[in-house]
Amino acid sequence: MISARVWMAARYWAALLFLVTGCSVASPLPAAGLRPLPLLMGGWIRDPITRKVDSLQPTLQWETFPRPEDLKADTDGRLADARSVTYEIRIWRADDGAPGELVYARTGLAEPAHTLDTPLAPDTLYLWTIRARFDLDGQPRVTQWAVLLLVRSDGLRPDARRTLLPPSGYYELKTPTQADARGS
C-alpha cells in the first residue's frame, strides 16, 4: 500500500519535473542570418539582449557559413557548392535604439571572428551585424544581414523581410568605461 503511494508520488513529481525542465530548456533567441557567438539564449531566464564587452577593441564571433540549417533548407543543394566564403561586419553607434553613425565596416574577413582594429568609444551602446559573402556558380551572393527577431515595442510581429529601413533587431553591444576597459 505504502509503496503504491510512494510510486504515485514519485510519478507525480517526475512528471512535474519533466514539465518544468521541459519548459525551461533554453533555446537560441529567434534570429535571421548568421548569429553571433555565444548564442543569445531564451527560455525562463533570457540572456540580456545587450552584450557587454570588456574591451574597446572586442573580438566578435559568429556562426560559420553555411550552417547545417542553411544546407538543410537549401533544397536545391546549391549551397554545397558555395565557394570563397568571406564575412562582412558593420557597427553603428546606437541613436535612440536605431543605427546612427556607421563607425566601423570591414569586408573580406576570412574567419567568422574579428578583433576590431580601431577602438570604440567607452561606455557607449553600439549596434552591429554580420553577413556572409560567397560565390555561387561563379556569381557573388550574400546572406541577409543578421538581426534578432524580437517582438517590437510597436507590437508588430518580428519579420526580417519588412520593407522598412534601417531594419530593427541589429545586435547590441555595450562598451566598458575607460577605467573598466581591459588593457587600459
Binding site: L71, P140, L164
Partner: protein, 266 residues
C-alpha cells in the same frame, strides 16, 4: 483578451477619427522573395531607368495656428480617455466615454495654446519644401543605384544609355519623400523616402520582379530640420539614398536566402 480587444478597438477608433489611418498596400510592408537564380542568370545587360510615376512630396507637420491646434487637441483629448480606459476593461471604456467631452475641451484649450502661429509654421514648411525640391531626388537616386550596382555587383553589365540594347531594365522610382509626423499638435518629424523597383524584360517590358522599400530616419523637431539651410535634411537624404540603393541592389542581384521563403520561386 477582452482588454486587448477593447484597446485595439479604441486605438482603431482614435486613428480613423484623427485622420491618420490610410489604406496600406501589403506589398509596401513585406519584401517578396528575391529573384530566382534562374531569373538572375537571364539578366544579361542591364539598363537602369527612372520610373515614370510622379514623386509625391510629403509634409505632415505641426498644427498651423490656434484653430488647427484646438481641433487636433480636442481630438486627442476626447479619444485619449477612451484609449486609457480600455486598458482597465469595460468599466474603463465607459468611464472614458463619459470623460471624453471634458478631455476634448481640455485638449482643445491646450492645443490652441501650444500650436505655433500659422505664419511661422508655413514659413518653416516653405523652407522644407524648398530644400526637398532642390534635392533632385529622382536623379540622385538613379546615381546612387548605378554606383551601388557597379561597386557591389561587378558581374552585372550596366548599359550606357542609348548605346546598347539591354536584355533587362532595372526601373527605379522614388514614389514618395518628405517629412512625416504623428498626430500631435507639434510633433517631431521623420524624413521618409519610399522607392519602387521593377525588373523588366528588355524585349517586351514584362515585369519579372518588383518591390518597395521605405527608409525612415530618426525623428527630430521641425526646427532642427529647418536649421542651417536644411543641412540635416540634406545629410539624411544622402544617407537614405545610399542605404536604399545598396539594399535594392542586394535584393535584386545578390541576396541568397537558403530558407523555405527563398525557395518559393527558386
Amino acid at each position: 483578451m477582452y482588454q486587448r480587444l477593447t484597446l485595439v478597438l479604441a486605438v482603431a477608433v482614435f486613428l480613423t477619427h484623427s485622420g491618420c489611418a490610410a489604406a496600406v498596400d501589403p506589398r509596401h510592408l513585406r519584401l517578396p522573395p528575391p529573384p530566382s537564380e534562374a531569373m538572375r542568370s537571364q539578366v544579361g545587360v542591364v539598363r537602369i531607368t527612372a520610373g515614370s510615376s510622379a514623386t509625391d512630396l510629403k509634409f505632415v507637420g505641426p498644427a498651423k495656428g490656434a484653430g488647427e491646434g484646438a481641433m487636433r487637441g480636442s481630438m486627442l483629448g476626447g479619444l485619449g480617455p477612451i484609449a486609457l480606459g480600455a486598458q482597465l476593461g469595460p468599466g474603463g471604456v465607459m468611464a472614458g466615454i463619459l470623460l471624453a467631452p471634458v478631455g476634448a475641451v481640455v485638449g482643445a484649450v491646450a492645443g490652441a495654446v501650444r500650436a505655433e502661429p500659422t505664419a511661422t509654421v508655413e514659413e518653416k514648411e516653405a523652407a522644407v519644401r524648398k530644400t526637398l525640391g532642390e534635392l533632385k531626388i529622382q536623379e540622385e537616386f538613379l546615381g546612387c543605384v548605378t554606383r551601388a550596382l557597379r561597386e557591389t555587383s561587378p558581374q552585372i553589365m550596366v548599359a550606357d544609355s542609348g548605346t546598347e540594347s539591354p536584355s533587362t531594365i532595372l526601373e527605379v522610382a522614388i514614389e514618395m519623400f518628405g517629412l512625416d509626423a504623428g498626430c500631435c499638435i507639434n510633433p517631431p518629424l521623420t524624413y521618409v523616402v519610399t522607392e519602387h523597383t521593377r525588373l523588366l524584360r528588355g524585349s517586351d517590358g514584362a515585369e519579372l520582379y518588383g518591390h518597395w522599400l521605405t527608409y525612415r530616419a530618426r525623428t527630430r523637431p521641425l526646427d532642427e530640420w529647418v536649421a542651417q539651410d536644411g543641412t540635416l535634411l540634406k545629410e539624411e537624404a544622402g544617407r537614405a539614398c545610399t542605404s536604399l540603393a545598396e539594399w535594392l541592389v542586394d535584393e535584386v542581384f545578390l541576396l541568397y536566402l537558403p530558407t523555405e521563403e527563398g525557395q518559393a520561386k527558386r
